[in-house]
Point group: D2
Chain length 115, copies 4
């Protein structure tokens, strides 16, 4: 699969089928999934916790670290998709709308190069 | 925008442009982005922390909670896309590969209805 | 050791000695320790993520779960003590002051039994 | 209050009284408290997310940042104490036991100056 041709709906379907085949929707309420998402994000951080910001970037060129981080990112995405499946959230529109808010909150002329 | 027709590459581009316009790539190393991801996931949890799992599901039908949760999910997605942009991660393939591992780890016949 | 007679300074010293013996203070800047704290808190959550709030309470009576949760709580405390050591924070006074703010923010007559 | 003379039991009592006065023990199951702990840890991280590890240390000398971080650390401690209250955990002994495991896992001669 490739990002250039894969839609969000296709990714949602992969996660939906996996959950249904195991009858796991009973565990997938909003509270539990928000926990699962945070736990996976914590596991991604765990890779980088003792290194400087510069070291972390070069670590991403090492095969093992890169694979571990990619797997953790996939886990985060999988739970984000599961959360959207459960709650009928249109992810693309949610991002589109949030970016409009972000552009208002952080106008280019004021936030260029800093926060 | 709609999940049915929106590709991951299109969403990546929206985030990439936003970051470049503000010259924020200097902050977007792997370490910082993994922190930002976890913080946003924590904010999603914050909505649900004092309620039972059942209450949380019905809360997602209330307009205000639903909007807040959708915005937090968008933030999580935006940082996941930013992490992928920075590190040239093919998200669709990452999910595809991780799901193969997950299917091996959790075979249907053994994990149906429980963990 | 016993909570009735153990002071915060005594606990701080245990962590300080452990860190110094390994020459790990070079890793213990505020950023890294805040990450370590969150990761450990995520590991505590991991024990409870798929269970209802009621189930989680009774899980804490099972020996294995109780031991795992106690170890994770200890890890959280160890990093909170390490953060205080590094930044010369008087934990007792910090809690005392924060509780004054909390009492103002959540007056008993208004928040009894709900949020 | 001062870390040199304050015991864990004294701190536990402050949190216990606060919770009882508001009849909040109904919300303080193990699952909810593990979420609250992680959320607060995320708020501590939020202070440091876009800065280098070096910058974060010097930020802790600025009055405002130092106060914010101290408040967040207090919140983490308050929920760790609440978790211990709810589940009858002897924190001092938990730390003592965990440090024995840590010393075995990370012997000084092998881990001096690195991980």
């Amino acid at each position: 699969m490739n990002d250039r041709s894969t839609t969000i709906t296709e990714l949602k379907k992969i996660v939906k089928d996996f959950v249904e085949e195991r009858d796991w929707s009973q565990f997938h309420n909003a509270k539990n999934l928000s926990m699962a998402l945070t736990i996976e994000a914590g596991e991604l951080m765990d890779i980088f916790k003792w290194n400087t910001t510069q070291e972390c970037d070069s670590m991403m060129s090492e095969k093992k670290t890169r694979q571990d981080a990619t797997d953790e990112l996939a886990d985060i995405m999988i739970y984000a998709l599961a959360f959207s499946n459960r709650n009928n959230i249109n992810i693309s529109r949610a991002i589109e709308k949030k970016m409009i808010k972000n552009r208002k909150k952080y106008p280019t002329e004021k936030f260029k190069g800093h926060f």
